[in-house]
Symmetry: D2
Subunit: 295 residues, 4 copies
């Protein structure tokens, strides 16, 4: 008999994670706003639910992968939210990218109702999720982390522990997104400058991506930005702007002046102001720098 | 009988390169301002010279590895400069990090006196040079690049061609140094912010260096910055400031607004203003961000 | 028989305004968290109240001058807030510097309870308030503005109308504070640079304040910054940071990239991080720039 | 019999200054690259010259008003430069906006040839020059300043002394241009943000120009920027960019991090990159900010 766990959020990232959980032998009580998304999962291994509350009913674990703080908060504490049915001591493994104080507040709500919340945001694009190549960052109570580990290991290439502060892993996740955005800005600046000197920007991107900066971020986004190939859209400017705003807020809360974060924020804001809301976030950088340089 | 080539500049980088040339079977006519530096080379494989002109006399190739534009220019066209004796068609392989217009001007001077100049800046720290792990960037006339290739391959892990523009490779070199500096700034901002939220900054640096940003820049400087371990000094703030100024000048010449370059420039300038001229350039970033954050 | 009006907020700015209202012949129903502040007003012309609700009871107009959005919101809609007693059609003249969306929300609350809200922030330091030299910015419904005009004219040198958008005047107020902060930053940068070239920074400040920039901002803050005389504290860095954060938020809401606002924000944040929370905001700029310049 | 003085540079600013010198009773030995410009001066009061050397011949004083460092340097020390004929002890009153080190170098050259150089840059647009409303900044040797004073007073509303450092006044001049540019940027940011909130930007500009910021810079450029009325061109972006570059260089030389100077520099660079080289510099700010804000 398979172990039942709750699962909420069948977006680009959530869907491959759900598939891997099924492959690992779990039975999922699935909820998604557009429930038809669940049609592509193995029907024998899931139970479709009409609400978060239904998905949370009677399980020891529930995973959620949602798009922003408001949606996550509503999923937890809304009319038909998780907490309406979530069993005592059950653990909510929350993978969304949200602000640390949202995580802190949700952890508090779970505790009040006798259940537990684990901040466990992930790094990786949908393809990485499909290949079980995600990285999961966790933080908080050691016992909770220990209990959730087998599930997290079944969908990732590694689980990294950032200590006991409940929302530490959220801070790490946003730091990483900041570093990805900064990498795109730096490449756009460098490659555009080289181009204006008559150097082949694709060649430059390729060189750095294969030598000093031979990490996926620089290889993949380097190519995208050098060639101005922003289709298909992987991650929208709107979501990128959400992240940039959260990072700026972290800089405020922690009183850490971050001039790069300011540049990035303005870059995303300009893209939004120019109507590039639904474009890939790499375009906000790549096209933004070229625009300013008159090309 | 060994092939004789000229060699000028026995600094941190020049010395291991000279050793590799000797190992590859060349005999070096060596000049260095402080000639005693040549004592650590195999004496049977070198001839000590009293001037650049003497080192350039009668050779087909001469390599130079110098600290800045002024020194290089003087070495070429000064009283006892290379051009006083450099044979017709001989090739000057110039590895220094200099401005593109310095390279263009020097190429012109060589041509006027019948010899040839090859811009061939390198990426890599002294340890990389010792291990023949440098990357060499070349550009300019195909014939010159072809002729110099065997020598360059004997001291590096690869020679990358950036087209026929004489100083293209200088642009690439400065773009790379800009990207290294931007990487240090972004890490300093991210790790300091994480630290102020109570997250272990060393742990964060280690995580990114092993996953999304698993490239040497992020691994090595990430550790340095996370742990504030700026000893021993590898590359001084003064030299880093020189690079930042050159990048800023490139941004001006090419009319490419580069806001990150502005932030970096100010970071180096602040470090200089505070008397950290001789500290490692990583400290300018790592300590600079922490200073502003009040820690 | 004197007209009775409500008055809430006897801070540095509120007190001189209250005195001018009394001088203009009004009787004030006064509330202040520390009610003893009312002792310095003419006792025959005031009635001391124990709550905002009491101050708002039975009057046609109520003025409030409070320190931030949260305090103002609580004063309006809290347990013993204004709206508990405020008569139908009575007008709340709200002079605090708050976010436009706070003003919009409060206007909505007043309307729901049958009364009216007028955003009317002011420019001017306490001395200016005492001398009736404030400038009042108003916006919103023409009828409300017209009705409040006599009261506003009795405490200012002019009332300027910014149209019918309820919170337009709040936008103008924050734009002005942004411009004041930008003026301080520019002076600090210019005077510090001049100083480092050996030019007398006081002389420079005096020259500009008397010629091209002969406006109070540049005269007064120019002297303060040039001489590094930050005592007595007129306006704290904490309040300045509040304004800088609000401006940043406006830049986000309106999708207007404002790089100067980013610099200012970081300047205030650095001052806060270094523990200068209670210092004059001019010090955050004047000392901040000098710190970075190593002097 | 009238006193003869040399005069070089009949540009927008030089011409009204020349006219005022003539009105004050001087006879001018005039040189200008396009000599036909001299046709609009009173012919009885001038002698047209074919070179700087001819204009400098036999006079006690020579005034120059030139467009940049290179032109000024050539005018002084070129083939037919001033120094070829300039009498012993004669004083060169140099009004151009140039870098301090250019002024220092030129002062040195004059001294070597027995004459004297006075850095005396001016503030004011052509209309101000015509109305004798310029401000002159001087610095250097007290005796030289004293000797030149009557001439300077005859064309300005005041002569301000910035001490004995030869190029102090050049530093002040560039500081002032920096502050003017910063004022334009801040207005563009504030007025665009207000506009995006639905507030009338012209009304906002008018309010600040008449109240807190009632100085000419804010009144005049405030109107220009608020109304986007950049015709006729008063001062080109190209010249503005020259100034911004000089300011940046001063920030480097003096080791004073100036983040506003960085923003301004990028603003001018973007305008140049977009082909607005010959537009009014106010457009670089006004249009630049609006572009980024998508309007």
């Amino acid at each position: 008999m398979k172990t039942k766990i709750g699962f909420i959020g069948l977006g680009n990232l959530g869907t491959p994670i759900a598939k891997n959980l099924i492959a690992a032998g779990y039975h999922l009580q699935v909820y998604n706003r557009t429930l038809s998304k669940a049609d592509e999962l193995d029907q024998a291994s899931i139970t479709k639910c009409q609400s978060p509350a239904e998905a949370a009913d009677g399980v020891d674990f529930l995973l959620s992968v949602l798009s922003n703080d408001a949606v996550l908060t509503d999923t937890v504490s809304g009319e038909e939210g998780i907490l309406k049915t979530f069993p005592k001591n059950a653990i909510h493994i929350s993978m969304s990218t949200v602000a640390p104080d949202t995580a802190d507040a949700l952890a508090e709500l779970h505790q009040q109702s006798g259940s537990r919340y684990l901040a466990s945001p992930v790094f990786g694009r949908p393809e990485a999720a499909a290949a079980k190549m995600l990285w999961v960052c966790v933080s908080g109570n050691p016992e909770i982390k220990e209990a959730a580990k087998p599930i997290l290991e079944s969908i990732s290439q590694g689980v990294v522990d950032f200590g006991e502060g409940i929302s530490n892993s959220n801070v790490v996740k946003l730091s990483g997104n900041f570093m990805i955005q900064a990498s795109m800005e730096m490449m756009a600046e460098a490659y555009t400058m080289a181009e204006k000197f008559g150097v082949d920007r694709t060649k430059v991107a390729e060189f750095f991506g294969n030598t000093l900066f031979n990490a996926p971020i620089f290889k993949n986004y380097g190519k995208v930005i050098a060639e101005h190939k922003y289709q298909p859209v992987g991650f929208t400017t709107e979501l990128g702007y959400k992240d940039a705003s959260l990072v700026f807020k972290l800089s405020q809360q922690s009183k850490t002046p971050m001039p790069f974060a300011g540049v990035i924020h303005n870059r995303m804001l300009t893209a939004m102001a120019k109507g590039r809301t639904d474009s890939d976030w790499a375009e906000a950088f790549g096209r933004g720098v070229s625009d300013d340089a008159g090309i």
